[in-house]
Symmetry: C2
Amino acid sequence: MDRAIDFWFDFSSPYSYIAGEWIDALAARHARRVRWHAFLLGVTFQAAQLKAPVDHPLKREYSLRDFARSARFEGLPYRMPPVFPIPTQNAARIFWWLHETRGEEAAHGWGQAGLRAVFTRGIVPSEAAALRALATEQGLDADECERVWNDPQWKARLKQANDQAIAAGVFGAPFVVVDGEPFWGNDRKPQIARWLASGPF
Amino acid sequence: MDRAIDFWFDFSSPYSYIAGEWIDALAARHARRVRWHAFLLGVTFQAAQLKAPVDHPLKREYSLRDFARSARFEGLPYRMPPVFPIPTQNAARIFWWLHETRGEEAAHGWGQAGLRAVFTRGIVPSEAAALRALATEQGLDADECERVWNDPQWKARLKQANDQAIAAGVFGAPFVVVDGEPFWGNDRKPQIARWLASGPF
């Protein structure tokens, strides 16, 4: 059996940022590795006929409060970015470009750095200048990254990831799959921890 | 400050059944009491422009799996009722009638018995015969209960509860309010536990 854990995230997802801070360490305690997958929540929302939590009356106010509180609960810094939700296709195309050309670890580093930039420093990766600056900071070439996010090859690679997400049943983020078992949301941490520690329940 | 905890539930909510099995004991450990409030999820869904999780592609399959798994995680028996979602206005009107005529404890007992009947025995409280049988089993007079659920007075009392739910920001169930702080979902148990143990975080 494939023991790797799949971690589906969107760069605009607060709960993905939070879960991204514990998933690797939790997996490592059980001798598992984590495969990160960037995808576009908007695409899976459409497939599932959903809207973002902040696009609903009542749920919007609750969600904004819960994002920050859930981060504090995990002892994490948190800041709401000035634009939200954020279009994240460019950041996600860079993720898949790194994944295919430099390997999983490079893509993972970009994924985590991107989530932290958005939710601790208010960086908006849909703004070209901000995304170029983030790329430079991460040791990448900003011009090359801009070519990547405009390149049909990497647009197609992201589209493939979105299709795979839907095929895997993903309708929200973070979405974690362990031994074929799906767990949606940062708040499934206790269930994931038990599954890893003692198997199916 | 009002130290009582508000617990909003719908008789058709699997996560309300699960949370209903731990909320009272958790509160008691912190010398708090719980005020149960029956309401209609459908009404707050409309206010928040939401649909039930099972009414969405992808999310439906996940939710049916997660309901049962989340019950097992808490060590609880679980059974999906043959009709779902279930119209629950009649059960909720009996709740408020008990609340106003026999007090909070009687209403609480009915609430918990109803949730257990639905999610461990597959009883469908929108069926008059099933609801009458449940009432009898709970020591109530079935004819009186049927009069209650058809009585404009108790219809109005439930409507009042629904209005109060929306005013309190409720858009899903269970919805728990502690010291004015809102917590949505059975999966906020760890946050509620920390809040009760050590205050705001």
